[in-house]
């Protein structure tokens, strides 16, 4: 029994009823209509239009998508499956594939370039000319976001005992003058056991109560504060905020969140994790060393603090919240640096002041 099919020539919708046969000599499928006219397809060029399902018509085409079509009963598979080697092969669309590859490559390259080169450069340049008023606002917004993140729903409390704040302001003034900064940054103490401190855009430094609780003496606190002042002098926080906002936005675009809702939250998170580069950290450390030396504060406090923090970390086995050492790797090397390159000196503040700072959150 002959296998029958319907042939469409791709030029018009006229239907040609044909009988199918394979001509082994020329390696062609021959489709012959009632009048005897025959259409021939090379066997190697024949493709399936879709996965055949038994009981449904099977459709064939040539490698070219635009060309003619053959529709036949599923019995045609008995004839064509053994004869056609490329039935399931995707047609050769090298040009299309090459173009696709080019665009994917260009897009990937563009995104990578944006993230690795343009974004940091853009952030750096923008940070230099950024309007101070706007920076203040960003700092305030970041401050609030961070305190909300730390507070777990409601904002973590600021410690505002007047005597403690006076002592901190005196320290800030002294360090800022030593660092050659025009305006002493505004230091705030957040009531949270987290052992950390961070610099925010808008001339702000957040010190967490955990750091004050654990600091062996006022010199350690002065060292940390001087380090954060270093970041501020180099405008690292603003740079990071700009960089992170751009990055969040890019990621948002890639995964489909075109509204960029997570931009500010992302910037706050990255500041909380202090994801500065190694160079930025080293610059801040060097600035801290110089500042401490100029102010005449003993840098050994910072070294002691590093050792203490490292031990603390080991004991607790790395708890959930990021701490000073977790976000600033290589504590040993930094301890050594402060030991070797530091200068001896006096206390950062009188003992009476240090006691006031220790109780700034109201409880001892």
């Amino acid at each position: 029994m002959a296998i029958e099919g319907k042939y469409f020539n791709g030029l018009n919708s006229a239907r040609h009823d044909v009988t199918l046969s394979v001509d082994v000599a020329s390696q062609c499928l021959v489709m012959r209509d009632a009048g005897g006219a025959a259409e021939r397809w090379p066997l190697a060029e024949i493709r399936l239009v879709e996965r055949p399902i038994s009981g449904f018509p099977v459709r064939y085409r040539r490698a070219d998508r635009d060309g003619p079509r053959l529709s036949a009963g599923d019995d045609s598979l008995f004839l064509l499956k053994p004869a056609c080697p490329n039935l399931r092969k995707t047609p050769p669309r090298e040009r299309k594939a090459a173009r696709l590859a080019f665009w994917i490559g260009a897009a990937a390259f563009g995104v990578a370039g944006l993230v690795i080169f343009s974004l940091p450069y853009f952030a750096h340049e923008l940070a230099l000319v950024f309007p101070p008023k706007l920076e203040q606002k960003i700092g305030l917004a970041t401050d609030q976001t961070i305190r909300t993140l730390l507070g777990g729903g409601h904002q973590a409390r600021l410690c505002q005992t007047a005597a403690g704040h006076d002592a901190l302001d005196r320290l800030a003034f002294r360090l800022a003058r030593a660092a050659g900064m025009e305006n002493p940054p505004h230091i705030e103490v957040v009531d949270t056991p987290v052992l950390n401190a961070l610099a925010l855009p808008g001339n702000r430094v957040l010190v967490f109560r955990g750091l004050i609780d654990k600091a062996p003496d006022s010199n350690a606190l002065a060292g940390v504060v001087a380090h954060e002042f270093g970041h501020i002098a180099y405008r690292h926080p603003l740079e990071a905020a700009i960089r992170q906002s751009g990055l969040s936005l890019l990621i948002g675009l890639l995964v489909g969140d075109v509204y960029g809702g997570s931009v500010v939250g992302g910037a706050a998170l990255v500041l909380l994790n202090s994801a500065y580069s190694r160079e930025a950290e080293e610059a801040a450390d060097r600035a801290a060393l110089t500042t401490l030396a100029t102010a005449g504060i003993d840098s050994d406090g910072m070294a002691k603090f590093f050792r203490m923090v490292a031990q603390e970390e080991r004991k607790s086995g790395g708890k959930t919240w990021p701490t000073f050492t977790m976000s600033h790797p290589d504590t040993g090397a930094r301890e050594a640096m402060f030991r070797q390159e530091g200068h001896p000196g006096g206390l950062a503040m009188p003992d009476a002041d240090w006691r006031k700072v220790k109780t700034i959150c109201g409880v001892d």
Binding site: K6, F8, N9, G10, L11, N12, S13, A14, R15, V49, E50, R51, I53, F56, P57, R59, R61, R65, D66, G67, P68, R69, S71, K96, A97, R99, L100, W103, I104, A107, G110, L134, K137, I138, L140, A141, I242, S245, G246, S248, L249, L250, G252, L253, L254, V255, G256, V258, Y259, G260, V263, V264, A267
Partner: protein
């Protein structure tokens, strides 16, 4: 169901019914799509959508031959990359502006501006281009569709229609949709046959008003209830009774429910109207779809499906709580953690199951009905359509993908 033949006037010599053939394999296709989309973090979605479209297209049979979808996942992906390249600079600038406009007032203005941009510019452009792509990738007997026309012109029509709709408090929405349909249809062709749309929006606006009327009335009732409560409070000096405000929720909820149902009804009605006023060359499309039947399908699916999912989740959660109680041995924190994780996993499973079942049961039933109640009628046959000469777009619907336009 009424017979298609009943609505064909006697001078229309030929009638070709559309048939939905129900090829097996949809469930495995959906499972594969879902699995690969999850594994590839969403990148597979372009290929998934293509596979699903190929399924729908190949099930629509006209005069013994089914449609063929020739689009590829790579084309959709390419379109998406195009979209990223075009839109990301805008998005970047906007995002930076928004992130640094710490003033909430400015943030609100910027957000509004962005939505206006999305709604008025990008969305219509995406709609138009997606339609053009799909037309060019649809074949029947080797002949393909095509679409010409200018995106800017369509944008102008849409913006004009939108302004009219807003000025008329939504009443002229059907007018806007018919304008869009007319432009798109008149730009379309199949092979060498032009498509034509000869519908008008008058009848549609009347039905649209009927759908708006009852919800609007209910909203007024709610307003009156609130006003009455406030007046009583003023007269007596008593504090506003919360019951009065709570009672006002009933008509508002009712209004939302009625409007949602009305919207489904209207969309199907408009679809039928659009088909019945579309000509392909000399052949007219016909549809006998009953909008209320589709409403019944949708409601039935969500009521039964929602009930089944709630029952399933309730049972499993009760089971998990029991197991958690045994394993946690009285430790409250551990028990809480187990329950939270279990509920999250269950939610995900329910979400995935529901989205697969929706296509498998609801979408398929609706598509089948839409196809089986449609026909081509008129003088002349289907044998003389020549191949299209309209150029084909190279890549597909990038923006439409980003906005998730078009279920098919």
């Amino acid at each position: 169901m009424t017979s298609v033949d009943a609505v064909v006037p006697s001078e229309e010599k030929t009638l070709f019914r559309l048939v939905f053939t129900d090829r097996p394999g949809l469930f495995t296709l959906l499972l594969k799509n879902m699995g690969l989309t999850i594994i590839t973090l969403g990148i597979y979605r372009f290929w998934a959508r293509t596979a699903l479209r190929r399924y729908w297209w190949s099930n629509v049979v006209i005069d013994g031959d089914s449609l063929e979808y020739t689009g590829t996942g790579a084309e959709l992906f390419l379109g998406f990359l195009f979209f990223l390249l075009v839109v990301s600079p805008f998005g970047l600038v906007w995002g930076l502006l928004k992130a640094f406009a710490a003033d909430p007032k400015w943030q609100a203005v910027l957000t509004l501006g962005f939505y206006v941009f999305l709604l008025f510019i990008l969305l219509p452009v995406a709609m138009f281009r997606a339609r053009r792509y799909r037309m060019s990738r649809t074949r029947w007997r080797g002949i393909r569709g095509g679409m010409t026309g200018s995106t800017l012109r369509f944008l102008a029509i849409t913006i004009g229609g939108f302004v009219a709709t807003i000025l008329s408090c939504g009443i002229l929405a059907p007018w806007m949709r018919i304008m869009q349909t007319r432009y798109i249809t008149n730009c379309s062709s199949f092979g060498d046959q032009d498509l034509n749309f000869d519908g008008k929006s008058g009848g549609l606006i009347l039905r649209w008003l009927a759908i708006l009327a009852l919800p609007a009335l209910l909203v007024v009732v709610a307003g009156l209830m609130l006003a009455a409560a406030a007046a009583k409070h003023q007269a007596s000096g008593e504090p506003v009774v919360p019951e009065a405000s709570i009672l006002a929720i009933i008509p508002i909820g009712l209004a939302v429910a009625i409007f949602a149902i009305g919207l489904i009804w209207y969309n199907v009605y408009e679809f039928r109207y659009t088909l019945n006023h579309t000509l392909i060359g000399t052949l007219r499309l016909r549809s006998l779809i009953e909008p209320f039947v589709v409403v019944g399908y949708v409601l039935g699916f969500f009521i039964v499906g929602g009930f089944a999912i709630t029952l399933f989740l309730g049972t499993v959660i009760a089971f998990v709580v029991g197991i958690a109680a045994v394993f946690a041995q009285g430790q409250k924190e551990a028990m809480g953690a187990i329950i939270v994780v279990a509920v999250l996993v269950l939610y995900l499973v329910a979400f995935i199951a529901m989205s697969i079942l929706r296509v498998l049961i609801l979408d398929k039933a609706i598509v089948k009905m839409l196809v089986d109640t449609a026909a081509l009628a008129g003088p002349g046959g289907l044998g003389e359509i020549r191949q299209s000469t309209v150029p084909m777009p190279g890549s597909g619907e990038g923006m439409a993908d980003a906005f998730d336009l078009g279920a098919f």
